[in-house]
């Protein structure tokens, strides 16, 4: 069930062709990302935003602080997708993200390291595990979480053009990869799944310019900038995070001690108590 599918494929397709395909996909992602950045001018936007924030900053961040904020961003927003306030969406995103990473890494290792060996250690297992996680997170998102389904009345069978290019690419790549691996030796059915797998992967990696694939590059930048504006005090004109037990805050805003006491209690989850389903 978890055998090395690449070694079985190498009987029909030379490993060098597979390796060139992987390199071509890598180049497509890099070119797509650069074109996307040029078209949306996202890098320019972040630099201009940073400059604007610097003007109203109350203090300058040292190099060490910036590094620490970058590490925090990687540990929190990137590795655990903490940006998502919706728990279901966060879990689905984690499955999809880690599934894709494990799937891509194990594919590269199998294609370049074990193209002909049936016994490739743990890598074939990781290849299947990555594809399964990707399919699980992807289908969960598609059938239950796609925000359009709830707020815009878009049904699960409606393909939403550019908005769905990325998720369709992910789901179909994972699904056809698994079907191809599990029908090995089944003749034309197996070849059909292989062709569909290659077509889906090409669509996924080749459509970066049009799809949402590029979000993985600018989202961490946005999260890092959000941390920086809090640390340097510019805060994009947002109010401070006041400590309600601080006597100076209580003196400045006398309504707080008058109505909430000098040690205000935690008032509960508020709007996060229930998911947004009132529309």
């Amino acid at each position: 069930m978890f055998s090395n599918p690449i070694s079985e494929l190498s009987a029909s397709i030379p490993p060098i062709a597979m390796q060139w395909y992987v390199i071509a996909m890598f180049i497509l992602v890099a070119v797509g990302t650069i074109l996307d950045m040029l078209h949306k001018r996202s890098a320019e936007y972040f630099f201009e935003n940073a400059k604007k924030a610097q003007k109203s900053a109350k203090r300058t961040l040292s190099g060490g602080e910036k590094t620490s904020l970058a590490v925090q961003t990687v540990a929190s927003e990137v590795l655990t997708s903490s940006e998502f306030k919706n728990t279901r969406r966060r879990i689905s995103h984690l499955f999809t993200m880690y599934g894709l990473i494990v799937f891509i890494v194990s594919t590269a290792v199998l294609v370049f390291g074990y193209p002909t060996e049936a016994d490739a250690g743990i890598w074939p297992f990781l290849w299947h595990l990555g594809a399964l996680a990707l399919a699980f997170g992807g289908y969960w998102f598609w059938f239950a979480i796609r925000v359009d389904v709830a707020s815009e009345g878009v049904k699960w069978y409606n393909f939403n053009g550019r908005g769905d290019l990325f998720i369709v690419g992910l789901i179909s790549t994972a699904t056809f990869a698994l079907l191809w691996s599990w029908t090995m030796g089944a003749g034309w059915v197996n070849w059909l799944f292989f062709v569909l797998f290659v077509a889906s992967a090409t669509e996924l990696f080749g459509s970066v310019y049009w799809s949402k694939f590029a979000h993985m590059f600018f989202k961490p930048a946005a999260a890092y900038q959000k941390k920086c504006i809090k640390a340097d005090g510019s805060r994009e004109n947002l109010p401070e995070d006041y400590d309600l037990t601080d006597p100076a805050v209580q003196k400045r805003f006398p309504d707080i001690p008058e109505y909430m006491g000098t040690n205000p209690p935690n008032m509960g989850l508020g709007i996060n108590r229930e998911p947004p389903r009132h529309y």
Binding site: F84, E258, M260, M267
Partner: protein, 160 residues
Amino acid sequence: MPTFVYMTRCDGCGQCVDICPSDIMHIDKVTRRAYNIEPNMCWECYSCVKACPHQAIDCRGYADFAPLGHSVRVKRDEEKGVIAWRIKFRNGQKDMDLLAPITTKPWGTCIPQLRDVAAPNKDQRDSELLYNEPKYLRLDDGGLHTLKSAGLKLKEGVYY
């Protein structure tokens, strides 16, 4: 002037879509981020601005509030039970902070049961007071009311 969304901040959670009384905050089908579909119909009630967990929504305020070009930003912290406002004039010099307890009642608890209320009589119809106006707002009866003078108390667990 209407609300707008900082796309890099928005995560498409749908809280603004949920709360907008005009139903004009929607999720873009391509980018999956919130946006104001009909700016002409936005009356700047600030519901979405306050509901956004990422402070991704901003509003260009009118000149009746402060000279044009100002910034009015709000952060509603429900766990602390307070709402903070910051008003900054375009010259950057005048920069005001306000902080107050949230007094909004829980969702669904303040729907007026008009069926059970007697219809207004002629005097009430001719009066300048709003029908069914809460007594705490009536300035003709004891001047300006505060929570304390009205005998009200903030309760734990405030939401919406």
